[in-house]
């Protein structure tokens, strides 16, 4: 029998949630110790006796017994969850209370409360995301550090800071709290950041990044399990993630190189995720409010349903970006809008739109800002200018994949510059060049 992939990591978040229900969030470290202990036991026992029939249930049962043992033994020395203090003191109610904490629906609710607690606005967003990854998704500090290209020590510090703040609160966030609405927005924002980190982030390893996307989706789907948190905006976020995730299999081409949207082999897009995304997007249209997630999901839906770059409805995409600018103006949105506009109206207009981005300062260190100029200059046949932009982008590349991709672009410009001036470049080949270029 094979152990399912990431079982420990996935069970970790669930077990910690159940144990925190019993011990209280001030004993978060104790809960984590118990989970760690369960994994150690699993290692020792399973390697000798083989896998149990239901590994997840086995782990849960070890954690449950250990919790019972700790509560009995340390009843006087420690205070446990305030919400259960009476229940835990009596042997009559202790065992049922612990059983109840490990029930499927309790674990789900406790995971949600934990998620809401991690996304405390008093913590910076980077700490929030790190906490979600560590406590709910079960990633270790070293793993998170490698995904975010920071040092392990820095990440350990960041997580410790967040946990200290968590553990100092009397209890986990109550979903009936008056702050529920704004906190739900913070949760969605953190999950959105987490997904984006996986999708566009700096980590070199594709496997790491795909895992971040998957985790963001898993946590978002958890929000959809409870009617309290499954609002239209959450549905739109889930739709957005599904529609983007559908493209992940095509993001790296056959040679292992980064493949931008316009050049992707669309037959490799995951049609099941596209369908799920479209269904979620339909469901998200339930209320009157249109959030940035709705608009972003709508843009992703136009891409996901287009047969190719040529067939893409760039007009609608530009309109949607205009709408997004009205809802959530940012330099990145403006950049994407300018790129879409260039697709609709031609590369010259694309360059005009790129140059008109307000607040472009904030894009200076983003390689694909310079690369966008490079692409449009190239299509205007200004190969020398394109060369300059791609070289600038290359200097800012954050990992090997980006570097290789941009090096290829620079090389193409080099080839053009050294070639004789007469280059057959009909408008027709210009139009399809987006899909051809970059393939040898």
């Amino acid at each position: 029998m094979e152990l399912s992939e990431h079982l420990f990591r996935r069970e970790s978040g669930r077990l910690v949630a159940a144990l925190v229900r019993i011990f209280g969030v001030h004993n978060l470290a104790l809960a984590e110790d118990v989970v760690q202990d369960a994994f150690c036991r699993a290692l020792e026992v399973w390697k000798v006796r083989g896998l149990p029939d239901n590994p997840a249930a086995w782990l849960m049962s070890v954690a449950k017994h250990r919790a019972l043992d700790i509560v009995r033994r340390e009843q006087t020395a420690r205070t446990f969850a305030a919400e259960l203090s009476r229940t835990l003191q009596s042997e009559w109610t202790l065992v049922p209370a612990i059983e109840e904490a490990f029930a499927w629906s309790t674990i789900r609710d406790e995971q949600l409360r934990m998620m809401f607690s991690c996304c405390d606005p008093r913590l910076s967003e980077e700490v929030q995301v790190a906490l979600v990854l560590n406590i709910l998704c079960g990633f270790g500090a070293a793993e998170i550090a490698s995904a975010f290209l920071t040092s392990r020590a820095a990440m350990e510090k960041r997580i410790a800071r967040g946990k200290k703040s968590l553990a100092s609160s009397a209890r986990l966030f109550d979903l009936a709290d008056a702050e529920f609405g704004p906190r739900l927005s913070a949760v969605r924002r953190a999950l959105y950041l987490l997904f984006n980190e996986g999708y566009h982030g700096a980590s070199a390893e594709d496997a790491v990044r795909v895992e971040l996307c998957r985790e963001a989706m898993r946590q978002t789907m958890l929000l959809l399990e409870s009617p309290l948190t499954a609002s239209p905006e959450t549905l739109a976020l889930a739709a957005l993630m599904h529609l983007h995730a559908a493209k992940l299999p095509a993001r790296v081409d056959a040679e292992g190189d980064l493949s931008p949207l316009l050049e992707q082999d669309r037959s490799r897009w995951d049609q099941q995720l596209v369908q799920q995304g479209l269904t979620l997007l339909d469901r998200s249209a339930a209320g009157p409010a249109v959030s940035p997630f709705h608009v972003e999901a709508a843009i992703a839906a136009v891409h996901a349903t287009a047969a190719g770059v040529e067939e893409t409805d760039w007009g609608t995409i530009v309109d949607l970006y205009d709408r997004l600018m009205g809802l959530a103006r940012s330099p990145i949105v403006a950049l994407n809008r300018a790129i879409a506009l260039g697709q609709r109206d031609g590369p010259e207009q694309g360059l005009v739109a790129l140059s008109a981005i307000a607040d472009a300062e904030r894009l200076r260190s983003y390689p694909f800002y310079h690369a966008a100029f490079g692409e449009f200059e190239w299509r205007c046949q200004h190969h020398r200018a394109a060369h300059g932009y791609f070289s600038a982008a290359l200097r800012l590349a954050r990992n090997t994949a980006e570097r290789r991709f941009l090096e290829r672009r620079v090389r193409q410009c080099d080839d053009r510059e050294t070639q004789p001036v007469v280059v057959a470049y009909s408008p027709d080949s210009e139009k399809s060049s987006g899909a051809q270029r970059g393939r040898k």
């Binding site: 079960g138 270790g140 793993e143």
Partner: protein
């Protein structure tokens, strides 16, 4: 065929590192299970042995003084044992090279079981 005892030893920090995150713990376990089943398939596994708790007592000397574990003063803790069958000590050593305890900087002590058939 002769029998050999494998004694697995590891420092506490190495053990914690190997179990450092759920993902690492799972990988570590999968390596152990793969190694054990490989020994088994090749017919070398005599007894899978037993895992040992990390706690216990030590009774020492004529005074029979009893001290508590965990044995923090010991550099390497014995974490478990396995009984294998091999042609000779060289083969037993060779077989132990795949043991995952080594990846974490731990050790396998290979001890021939004394033959009593004389």
């Amino acid at each position: 065929m002769s029998q050999f005892l494998y004694l697995y030893r590891m420092t506490e920090t190495a053990r914690q590192e190997a179990m450092g995150s759920p993902e690492r713990a799972q990988q570590n376990m999968q390596r152990w299970m793969a190694w054990m089943s490989d020994l088994d398939k090749k017919g070398h596994l005599k007894d899978r042995g037993q895992p040992l708790e990390r706690t216990g007592k030590v009774i020492r000397g004529q005074q029979k003084t009893v001290t508590d574990g965990p044995f923090t003063e010991a550099k390497d803790l014995v974490g478990g044992f396995t009984l294998v069958e091999a042609r000779d000590i060289d083969q037993a050593v060779e077989l132990s090279r795949g043991c995952p305890v080594l990846d974490g900087g731990g050790s396998v002590e290979v001890r021939p079981i004394m033959k009593m058939d004389m």
